[in-house]
């Protein structure tokens, strides 16, 4: 049994102007110790996905269908009390902005001890020892001193380390990290990513890394999925996606990176921008921006096609696979 299995997850937002689909057909599994990257631009639904796994969506958002199986138990229908024993305990979450995550009026130590005492029946002294040990794990210099400091006394990189230490407090099975390094400088980003990689490997923690940065996904994760307008459009092993992207959107995203272009030449841009959720086009959501769009793309939602180790939602890829198969049959018949 997979550690986490998401089946046909569907999330909707009931807005005054009508219902919108924030997520559709979300299917994936996460094994123990595995690192999964979720890539997409703003509005793709990647953060909503992170939130819905812990059932943290607030109104008007709700899970409209599907299952989120954590060790076989469905988080989507679990009671608030049961959920509380999982959130922050078995599955923890790290957010983008460490200043927003940490409570400004509590010391680092108070926040860590509070979290430990909420989940475990231990003494305050033991809690402090565990907290200090976790601070050491994330290479915080002089943890005893930091323990009594407030978040505003620390730098951005240091704060994000504290947030990671809090995420690790309960030795969780899964960490969901939502753009954990976006607010940080490149040198700090590299340090934090190295740290997360090391901690996940050492403690056999599964990581779901939500980011817009293909470079980070390429460096850290083994599996990846690319989202567009609330749907996974391509998923599979990270290396396969980076080296041989099948979906025109993934290709476009990669080619738009400055490092893929010849310096001084024009970048390969994708025309237009991602549609808002209220106005997702019929058929394939990407069809108005796609340079290979066919007639069927405007009317029919593409199904998933297997291509190598990946699953791709694209009519063109499906067509090409069919043609390949037909050609092979003819060859075999001859």
């Amino acid at each position: 049994m997979a550690l986490l299995e998401v089946k046909n997850l569907e999330v909707r937002f009931g807005l005054r102007s009508g219902e919108v689909h924030a997520l559709r057909d979300i299917n994936f599994t996460l094994e123990r110790g595995e690192r999964l990257g979720v890539v997409g631009e703003s509005g793709a639904g990647k953060s909503v996905l992170g939130f819905s796994i812990l059932n943290l969506l607030s109104r008007p958002g709700y899970i409209a269908g599907g299952e989120i199986l954590f060790e076989g138990r469905n988080l989507a229908v679990m009671s608030a009390k049961e959920l509380r024993s999982i959130r922050g305990n078995r599955i923890s979450m790290i957010f983008q902005d460490p200043m927003m995550t940490l409570n400004p009026v509590l010391t680092i130590g108070q926040q860590m001890v509070e979290c430990l005492l909420a989940h475990r029946k231990i003494s305050g002294r033991d809690a402090k020892n565990i907290a200090l040990q976790k601070l050491k794990q994330v290479y915080i210099p002089s943890p005893e001193k930091r323990f009594d400091q407030y978040p505003h006394e620390l730098s951005g990189g240091m704060r994000q380390r504290i947030v990671i230490a809090i995420g690790l407090l309960m030795d969780p099975d899964i960490i969901i990290a939502d753009e954990p390094t976006t607010a940080l400088d490149v040198t700090i980003q590299a340090e934090i990513m190295d740290l997360m990689l090391e901690l996940c490997e050492r403690n056999n923690v599964a990581l779901m890394l939500i980011t817009h940065d293909l470079g980070v996904v390429s460096q850290v994760t083994q599996q990846a999925m690319v989202m567009y307008a609330g749907r996974i459009i391509e998923q599979g092993p990270t290396r396969e996606i980076i080296n041989d992207a099948q979906h025109p959107y993934t290709q476009g995203l990669m080619n738009a990176l400055p490092q893929m272009a010849i310096p001084g030449q024009r970048l390969n841009q994708i025309r237009g921008s991602m549609p808002p959720l209220q106005k997702i086009p019929d058929g394939c959501a990407f069809n108005p921006r796609c340079e290979y769009a066919m007639e069927v793309c405007q009317t029919q939602l593409p199904d998933y096609t297997s291509s190598g180790g990946c699953r791709v939602a694209c009519h063109l890829v499906a067509k090409m696979k069919l043609e390949e198969a037909a050609a092979r049959q003819i060859e075999e018949a001859n």
Partner: protein, 347 residues
């Protein structure tokens, strides 16, 4: 070494903006009364400053895109704002085509303001939400050309709107009706509307998605070609610099560490900080060499370290680095670097 030949030819290019030994301090001690402290029975006035820029000398050459990179707090945005006259320097001078502009009055500065325009980071904050796009774009044109007729202003506005890929019939709409990428195009149109020669762009694409970043960068490169623009481009994104920049200036804690032609900088970074910065870029390919880890954190710009500002984190620092501030020296690659270790041939 094959890169030395083409880069040195360009040094003859005419300089458009000169920044000479620029200093900028910000007081963080509040007003006069808050600065008065009782020390040992005496009233003394104590002032603390953030030393945002410490003796930066740069020249922006005509037609180039000079990129300034560095991490947050290194003073790169302060440089941009000081060059534009939005902040007045605490020391040093800024000249435009040989004429000093940092000490001019607002009225004297007017003709330069038309030639120098700025694009800001956040297109959500830099457009007035209560003005239509047409009003936003017409205002600078009318302001700088008071004698021009309304019809001509409108023609000019629709011309720039077209050139940035915004339909001129959308002029009646407000900023909130546009996406982030479209808003940044409008900001660029506003800068282009007065036919400037020099554009300072402060992180113009950092707030945008990858696919939109490419669109806006392409637009800026097209504008540079068709309008013969010179850019001072402030960014923290090194991949963008590699693509866009003619030359790159690397800043650390208010000082210039290295200035070099883009190709040379990325091929052979000389300053230890530049090397660490470049090694930290997340790349798509696997098996990159592990990034150079710097010890410690960026020191506070309130109490600057003595000597080289980087010495506390530098793997090559010695006694001299702690004492003496390094000066920029020319390198074989056609750049300049401020590092004792490079000068002494230790790295």
């Amino acid at each position: 070494m094959t890169t030395t030949v083409p880069t040195t030819v360009k040094t003859a290019a005419e300089s458009l903006v000169q920044i000479e030994d620029l200093y900028k301090r910000f007081s963080i001690s509040g007003d006069f009364l808050e600065q008065i402290k009782l020390r040992g029975g005496k009233l003394v006035r104590e002032q603390e400053h953030v030393h945002a820029i410490n003796g930066v000398t740069l020249d922006v050459r005509k037609g180039e895109a000079l990129c300034v990179v560095g991490e947050s707090g290194c003073g790169k945005s302060t440089v941009a704002r000081t060059v534009m006259g939005l902040l007045s320097p605490s020391g040093g001078s800024i000249s435009y085509q040989g004429k000093r502009i940092d000490n001019l009055s607002d009225r004297q500065l007017m003709p330069y303001r038309r030639k120098m325009q700025m694009i800001f980071q956040n297109p959500y904050a830099s457009l007035n939400p209560r003005m239509t796009i047409a009003q936003t774009l017409e205002e600078p044109v009318r302001f700088h050309n008071p004698k021009v007729s309304i019809a001509e202003v409108r023609d000019k506005v629709s011309e720039v709107m077209q050139s940035v890929g915004i339909d001129p019939t959308w002029g009646k709409r407000y900023a909130h009706e546009f996406s982030g990428g479209q808003r940044q195009r409008i900001s660029i149109a506003r800068a282009l509307a007065v036919d400037p020669e020099f554009i300072v762009a402060d992180e113009p694409i950092s707030a945008l998605d990858v696919s939109i970043q490419a669109q806006v960068l392409n637009l800026m490169m097209d504008a540079q070609e068709s309008r013969n623009l010179t850019y001072l481009f402030i960014t923290h994104d090194l991949a963008v610099v590699e693509h866009f920049g003619t030359r790159v200036a690397v800043m650390y804690l208010g000082s210039l560490c290295e200035l070099a032609p883009t190709k040379a900088l990325f091929a052979t970074p000389r300053h230890p900080y530049t090397q660490a910065l470049l090694s930290a870029i997340p790349r798509l390919e696997t098996g990159r060499p592990a990034h150079i880890k710097l010890k410690g954190e960026v020191p506070t710009p309130v109490n600057l370290p003595s000597g080289c500002v980087f010495h506390g984190r530098c793997p090559h620092a010695n006694e001299r680095c702690k004492r003496e501030i390094p000066q920029l020296i020319a390198t074989d690659e056609g750049g300049q670097v401020a590092c004792h270790a490079v000068e002494e041939g230790r790295i």
